[in-house]
Amino acid sequence: MNRKGKDKMGMRLRENIYQAVLWFILLILAATMLVPFLYVLMLSFTDASAYVAGAFNLWPKKFSLAAYGLILKGSGFLNALKSTLIITVIGTPLSLFLNAGLAYCLSKPIPGKSFLNKYVMFTMLFSAGMVPNFMNIKALHLLDNYLACILPAACGAWSIMVMRSFFQSLPAELEEAAMIDGCGQLRIFGVIVLPLSKAMLASMTLFSFVSYWNTYFNSIMYMTTTAKSTLQVYVQKVVLSSGMSSSDMVDMQSVVQNVVPQEVTRMAAVVVVILPILVIYPFLQKYFQAGMMVGAVKG
């Protein structure tokens, strides 16, 4: 009896040590993911008087919002924000509507279903390439039009397949019962199927929102007016292009007078660009694990 108790204690101790080591490793890993953001966030509040170029700071000695003021005043940021907002606000619901509709269509035993499946899969399999895509957008007269950033990313075979397998996994009885009650097909989709798919739709909303918010490639490809390019292009110009070329992106005078150090401005630019994702992420995060699993388990 006594020995058994000791064994149990030893086991519990071993388990605790094991868990502590696990926690340690995972905490370090989580830190490598989070610390870069915290570092950028902290330094973006540094006041010019406390800033020493080239010195290593973790914590600003004096706080200031000057860098944010500078960014918000510059026309570069406001234009980029406007473009990104237009693309995201139109693109996200449109993309959800197109993908969910097509996925629901493919989840039903409709005539021509196998052809339509192939039609969707082909888009995942083969790409015409960068130049033909560009010529196509040009031929559609969409160059410099926000639709050129919205439409290419609106339909994705992967999202459609994940949604389709989700719709197929819903119990058929509910829809059949509604049909017997004389409910039309569109009403069934809107009143029964969509509410049942809330978790999946929430994760798809997050994916779609993020992909539009992060629009970079389509912007540099198709938007010829600088004022119409997106926030990601803006952040690239502020952070990654050196010297004077970034001057049109922020208020010139403040830069010349060195009111706000360049490094701090750069960090503030990164913060404003990722802020919406950081805000929306924790709310939708609990859904996307459930939503992802549907696709993951199948793969």
Binding site: P36, L102, P111, L125, R266, M293
Partner: protein, 309 residues
Amino acid sequence: MKGKKETGKTLRRQIWEYRWIYLLGIPGLVVMFLMYYMPLRGILMAFQDYNPHLGILGSPWTGLKHFRTLFSDPKFYNMLKNTLVISGLNLLTFPVPIFLAMLLNEVRNLKFKKFIQTSIYLPHFMSWAIVVSLTFFLLSTEQGVVNKLIVMAGGEPFAFLFSTKWIYLILVVQSLWKSVGWNSIVYLAAISGIDQSLYEAAKMDGANRFQCMMKITLPSIMPTVIVMLILRMGSIISVDFEQTFLMNNPLVKSKLEVFEIFIYNNSIATGSTQYSYTTAVGLFKSVVNTALVCLTNWITSRRGYEGVM
């Protein structure tokens, strides 16, 4: 799939019965047609000397001229080499998410597990412009943390981002940082599907934790691992455009020249008229890519796993 047609109904009646369902699918089909199928006609440019004034129908045909030029161009072999080296190095990190999932699965405290998951999935949602910006804050000569520390320790700052020796390592670490958490999800799902009675039986037989991992967890998720590995092999000819484009600078240019970068720099970026040649380069990449995906899908389904398609 229900392939059986209900008797007594003509095809037309069946279609009519599903008319509202079709209606839901049509907008997506139209957008797909506009964005994926319409560009296909542009592929013809690869077999022409395309002239914008003459259009695709009027431009002179050249057969395989551009492909012959491509395969005799030393630049092509450099691009192929860069692509394969970058993909190959990325492939080396393939096991990392598997181990991460196994570690995560061992955590007993659910709140802690959730916190870790939330933080490691976050980088997946960052654009390459942000990831590259963060890299800049870490490694740049004047503003990078590493160089600030080197200077504080009395050393000379080192231009990591302009060094051909470091560039591939930086790319691999960036990709790993961005995707390791996200890629672990699929393995976590696989692990959670393992029958718990296997572990209980093993414990009864006196197996320790490590033995359980090696003899139960790993073999049980092997099908998922193989499918993921094969999928990765299918994209070995593709390197992320945004990442390589944003990391590019004159000093590391030769190391980062991959197909997409070449196409972009010689067509859209410069407004050059090499439409036909760059289309040919893109077509080569697309065809190899499709062949690889089909091949790997064929292998997976032959091995008895449900194929990807």
